[in-house]
Symmetry: C2
Subunit: 204 residues, 2 copies
DNA sequence: CAATATTGGACACCAGCACTATCCAAAGTC
DNA sequence: GACTTTGGATAGTGCTGGTGTCCAATATTG
């Protein structure tokens, strides 16, 4: 198929497809002449993935490129690939937290073993600092419950990873890590809404 | 104190403080002359809150304005105020999901009572659609576990809300809803990292 | 075979966002 | 009285995620 059909199939303007090709989010089609290239089913899927990562996933183009590079890279082991995918995915607050200790303490209380320079650890420290600066330092007990709930989720995320093919595993991890985030946040808000309705019953 | 001291105290450039004043994120100081205004401690706190919402909280200026308006609005009941704050906080995917049913079904399975037009419900539907489009439709069981974990968190979020003053309650809800999101996401990634290390033990 | 349409590729351009810089006259400060 | 700072207004910046326009080369159609 040609670019116009590819664009139509994924519901994306042709100009935007060209943009993604330029940005390296989409692999080039097979050239069949100076002004003709052929695209396949896999391009349609990839394009849909790109749209999902950029839109609901909330990734920037640059981050999506890094993430997709991790997806494409031939990996040797699942764990290694997961690590690469995770590292490509910072996306979290860019602020450089001054004090990692509260985050480290929380992780230690859970008994989690994580890399000392894990981006998520930095993000956690930054988020805790922001809460402090905003005048609402969260009590330890609350954080522990958050961590417990997050632990369940992370456990389950990893348990679901398919072990058949490394490539499949990586794709699975990337898609689920990114695209289940909005799901989780939306569910939290819905749960809050429900709980609020039960705790403060009135005619809104 | 004057604008320069306010800016210094919060670690923000003066030009940026002026910008926030223009944008209505920060209430104007008390004018003491044509070219002089006085700011108080509450401006420092508010400015820090604004920075936390815009930076780690990930809100846009427009969204932050809406959220802060909800914080400032004199509310009559806690539940009402929470609803207003929640509604000011969409921030979630702007895509208009075509099919709300999967999201509704998930909420119903949990027994949650939420508004049928809740922004979070739309966000959930959109996120589920994105997963589908990306070729990784999540199994129901996985979603149910996510919902269960989210339920615990939402429950706890609401349980912590102070009931003394409505204003305090609103501020608490807004700050915690927004600023605990990055905490939760970071914790999930850390839990994934830990679980991955346990499931796929090797020398990274 | 000629008229028309489409393509890949290059480049310029655009709108929105969060600031940032400059300027000004009025008002403090030393 | 010189110097600095202020609030307020306006314009400009850098970045991001696209769009629009143009081109010669190639299909496709009549």
């Amino acid at each position: 198929m040609q670019i116009s059909e590819l664009a139509r199939r994924a519901g994306v303007p042709v100009a935007t497809v060209k943009y993604y090709l330029r940005e390296g989010l989409l692999p080039p089609g097979e050239l069949t002449g100076a002004t003709r290239a052929r695209y396949g089913e896999e391009h349609v899927e990839r394009l849909r993935l790109v749209r999902a990562l950029l839109g609901p996933g909330g990734l920037s183009v640059a981050r999506a490129r890094a993430v997709l590079a991790a997806v494409d890279a031939p990996a040797t082991s699942v764990h290694q690939a997961l690590g690469a995918a995770h590292r490509a995915l910072p996306e979290m607050g860019a602020a450089v937290p001054a004090d990692l200790d509260p985050a480290r303490a929380l992780v230690r209380r859970r008994g989690w073993r994580v890399a000392p320079d894990s981006p998520a650890l930095l993000a956690l420290a930054g988020a805790l600092e922001a809460l402090h600066a905003a005048g609402s330092p969260p009590p330890e007990a609350l954080l522990d419950r958050y961590a417990e709930a997050a632990g369940r989720i992370g456990e389950q995320d990893v348990a679901e990873v398919p072990t058949g093919s490394v490539a499949d595993a990586v794709r699975f991890v990337v898609v689920n890590t990114v695209l289940l985030e909005p799901v989780l946040l939306a569910l939290r808000r819905l749960a809050q809404e429900d709980a609020s309705g039960r705790r403060f019953p009135d005619g809104d």
